[in-house]
């Protein structure tokens, strides 16, 4: 179960040409939020919106399709989206909140829903969580190192960043630059080293690039709510799908990366325990499934 519990997994992409153009992969996150806003299934969505500093996102409440699209694309640094959820309820008055979240952010959200010690009247307002796959995240200064120093590009020219096929990619209007992932090692956020979730196992719907060709996304539906909304979006024609078996590299690739991430993390967890350092997860010896996110 390295992909968590899910109902269905498919290859998918937004049918909207504009979303296809600006989205990171298949535009599933943006397409789902635009659809959910249109259908009034959510009143707004917390996304990683742009700030004055290029490539440094900040949690933002998007209430329109334009605002959703302004936040499309992956930023490989922190956007503490969970922070914004309470503001979305209190300051923006949203009753049905959507949010995009990397796996660890979903852990914060789900823990709050199960144990809302100091969090009042928010748990029930989270109407749609779209989780995105995540191998690791980077402090902003690490990104600056990759772009400015290692690749020697002017950050203001970069139009898209991506990680895939063993490389860190930066796209400008005219060129494509790459950096072997080896060169990024040591620059990751340290807390990621004990992270046991690659595919957003606690989301309503999870999506990421791995497993499907460029321009497409892998999508896993998990909860009833997630399944309903994804199916409705497909039926409405805003998202098109293909069977995973019909695309390359396919589910095996996703399972391999998830297994690698979890195996590495378990080793760090066990090492930390041996050193007496705190870690919120069980040691390998304490759990049935050694790769479960427990």
């Amino acid at each position: 179960m390295v992909l968590g519990t899910y109902k269905e997994v498919v290859a998918a992409r937004s049918t909207d040409k504009q979303i296809q153009k600006i989205a990171q992969d298949g535009g599933i996150v943006s397409a789902l939020f635009c659809y959910a806003l249109d259908e009034k299934l959510i009143d707004g969505a917390v996304v990683a919106g742009p700030t004055e500093e290029l490539w440094k996102p900040a949690p933002t409440v998007a209430m329109t399709a334009e605002e959703v699209l302004a936040a499309a694309g992956t930023k490989y640094t922190f956007s503490p989206n969970v922070w914004m959820l309470k503001k979305a309820a209190r300051q923006y008055g949203l009753e049905k909140i959507g949010t995009v979240a990397i796996p660890c952010q979903l852990m914060g959200i789900r823990k709050m829903q199960s144990y809302p010690f100091g969090v009042r009247f928010l748990a029930d307002k989270i109407a749609l969580t779209v989780g995105i796959f995540c191998m690791e995240n980077f402090p902003f200064a690490s990104l600056q190192t990759f772009i400015s120093e290692k690749m020697g590009i002017d950050p203001s020219l970069v139009e898209k960043m991506d990680i895939g096929k063993g490389k860190f990619w930066a796209y400008t209007a005219d060129d494509v630059y790459t950096l072997p992932l080896k060169e990024t090692h040591g620059y990751e956020q340290n807390g990621c080293k004990v992270c046991l979730d690659y595919v957003a196992e606690l989301a309503d719907v999870s999506t990421g690039s791995v497993g499907t060709p460029d321009g497409w996304s892998t999508v896993l539906t998990r909860t009833d709510a997630g399944e309903t909304i994804f199916k409705a979006a497909v039926d409405a024609g805003v998202i098109e799908t293909k069977a995973m078996d019909d695309v390359k590299p396919g589910l095996g690739m996703l399972e391999k990366l998830a297994t690698d991430k979890k195996t590495k993390a378990m080793k760090v967890i066990d090492d930390r325990k041996a050193m007496g350092l705190p870690v919120p997860y069980k040691a390998s010896s304490e759990k049935e499934d050694p790769l479960a996110n427990v």
Binding site: G4, T5, T77, W83, Q105, G108, F117, G118, G191, V279
Partner: protein
């Protein structure tokens, strides 16, 4: 008695075989009602020490279940303004709100008596659990300048479970009470563990999460802080000490402090 045994006896789990053993199929309506009547309702006391009544108000905000709870599920047997009774009775569960002032002999005496009379003592709210903002007290104020030292109740008596929050949300109080009534020990386990978390501060995020290479910048801490003492800077929590009331909520909500995976999967149906 262990906490587990005490909770079980509170729930009547050892005395009666279990709900499953009830003669479901043949039982007539009257019989069912009789069983319900015979199973004594848990006797609960509400003890108010140095707190602001916020926890009690949060409890009463569970409008949808409150009437059912008070009429059919529990007996409130003791509590200022709630029950007309001077002598503290035996209780199955005592909910204690507020920290305890060491210079106030009445509070100290009452707390000791609670421990004697109650099978289970629950620190409800951060003042009882961690001291919360009463940690800042230095005395020298009217009406009693000598009242200076306020401590979480676990400093004086053994506490079985804690529900921090300033105040705890209506939802967590409802979930806790329902879990107690259903004997859902899995759900209650974190509350038992939190009984030992009595020295809380926003700086716990730095010392217990960031310093330990565990922070992942999710923002759950800043979201949950009830006084907006926290913001996020470069993906890490930043504490405004002047606003921090030492309630402990941020660290308790952080996904990297403790991780209730099984409960979450159960709640999500995964």
């Amino acid at each position: 008695m262990s906490i587990l045994a005490r909770i079980k006896s509170f729930l009547g789990l050892e005395a009666k075989p279990d709900k499953e053993a009830k003669p479901k199929q043949e039982a007539s309506q009257q019989e069912v009602e009789k069983v319900a009547e015979e199973k004594a309702k848990p006797r609960i006391g509400y003890i108010h020490l140095s707190g602001c009544t916020g926890d009690a108000i949060s409890l009463t905000e569970n409008y949808d279940i409150l009437a059912e709870l008070l009429t059919n599920m529990v007996d409130i047997v003791y509590g200022q303004t709630l029950v007309d009774l001077w002598e503290m009775p035996e209780m199955d569960l005592a909910l204690v709100e507020g920290s305890c002032c060491l210079q106030d002999e009445h509070s100290v005496k009452e707390l000791m008596e609670v421990r004697e009379k109650a099978a289970l003592v629950c620190a409800l709210g951060s003042c009882a659990a961690t001291g919360c903002f009463t940690r800042y007290s230095r005395g020298g104020q009217q009406a009693q300048p000598g009242h200076e030292s306020f401590v979480p109740i676990a400093d004086l008596v053994k506490v079985d479970c804690a529900v921090p929050g300033c105040p705890p949300s209506p939802e967590i109080i409802a979930k806790t009470v329902v879990a107690l009534i259903n004997g859902d020990m899995d759900y209650l386990q974190p509350m038992l563990d939190l009984a030992g978390y009595t020295e809380a501060c926003g700086c716990d995020l730095q010392t217990k999460v960031v310093n330990q290479a565990l922070c992942i910048g999710c923002g759950t801490c800043a979201m949950s802080c009830q006084t907006r003492a926290l913001s996020m800077t470069n993906g890490r929590p930043e504490l405004n000490e002047d606003r921090c009331i030492k309630c402990g909520v941020c660290y308790v909500q952080c996904p990297r402090s403790w991780w209730p995976a099984e409960q979450i999967n159960k709640d999500l149906g995964l």
